[in-house]
């Protein structure tokens, strides 16, 4: 059996600076993700939304953010690698980390590519160019 990029199911993420540092650390350690943080990139630290999006697109990464301005109005679906947005209802870092862990384990994470995903505490809504589907997290 030969190695193929298609077999690599890790999602490539660019974690926005608005995500708490302990959460970013947890996500970076998750085997489901290949994560990079905006806070570690001096050129993007405090940078504009467009700069973050452009970097993510150039490096084939999905943007993981809390900011609600990363939506399909500002960034139409299929014109970027993808956006994963954490719901504002996840107020604390521990809630955010728990929601991301559930998303990683729910079996639908690969659908986040080229789509806009909204993660809540108990479900995720994935919006592609064709449809919007909501998946409840098990348990």
């Amino acid at each position: 059996m030969y190695w193929s990029p298609l077999l690599n199911t890790k999602l490539r993420l660019l974690i926005d600076e608005s995500v708490e540092d302990p959460v970013a650390d947890v996500v970076s350690r998750m085997s489901a993700f290949n994560a990079m943080c905006v806070r570690d990139l001096p050129s993007l630290k405090g940078g504009s939304d467009r700069a973050v999006m452009d970097y993510a697109q150039k490096d084939d990464r999905i943007v993981l953010t809390i900011d609600a301005h990363f939506n399909k109005t500002n960034y139409p679906i299929c014109r970027h690698e993808g956006i994963i947005r954490i719901s504002a209802r996840c107020r604390t870092g521990s809630m955010v980390a728990d929601s991301i862990r559930k998303f990683a384990q729910c079996g639908h994470r690969s659908e986040a590519k080229h789509s806009i995903t909204l993660i809540n505490q108990d479900s995720c809504t994935i919006e592609t160019i064709a449809e919007v589907t909501t998946h409840r997290f098990p348990g």
Binding site: E17, S18, E20, D21, K45, D49, D67, H69, R91
Partner: protein, 135 residues
């Protein structure tokens, strides 16, 4: 009814008890009703545009910044992409100012304090201050 009797009348009403101290109002103004009208709080002015409230609060802050290109204009800690509301959430989660610097290691205590002050200014702004200045 004399001035003193009026004061005693008010003294049994806790809501107006602060009026029982200080100079007699009748000594300063023409009539008691005028004085009461001056002391009665008026409706707050909530018609102030929120954008101007944010701008005013920003003027008073050292570290909070707003830029339509960054976080869509959401108030944030200057030089970062950390919104003020997440700083407040971090304080809520960790229970202290120092806790917010654990959640966001790039922030200083001064920046966190300034974010809290900014939020306070925003909540304080849409108030008719004139009612408060009447003696």
């Amino acid at each position: 009814m004399t001035c003193r009797e009026r004061r005693d009348d008010l003294y049994v009403r806790p809501a107006f008890s602060r009026w029982t101290t200080g100079p007699c109002r009748e000594e300063q103004q023409d009539g008691w009703l005028t004085a009461v009208a001056g002391e009665t709080s008026r409706p707050k002015d909530f018609d102030v545009p929120f954008s101007s409230v944010l701008e005013n609060a920003k003027q008073l802050s050292l570290f909070v910044d707003m830029d339509s290109e960054v976080l869509g204009g959401t108030p944030r800690v200057g030089g970062t992409r950390i919104p003020v509301y997440r700083v407040l959430n971090a304080i809520d989660e960790y229970g202290s100012i120092d806790g917010a610097t654990i959640a966001y290691r790039s922030l200083t205590v001064e920046q966190v304090r300034d974010a809290v002050q900014f939020a306070a200014h925003v909540l304080e702004s849409p108030v008719e201050h004139e009612a408060e200045t009447v003696d």
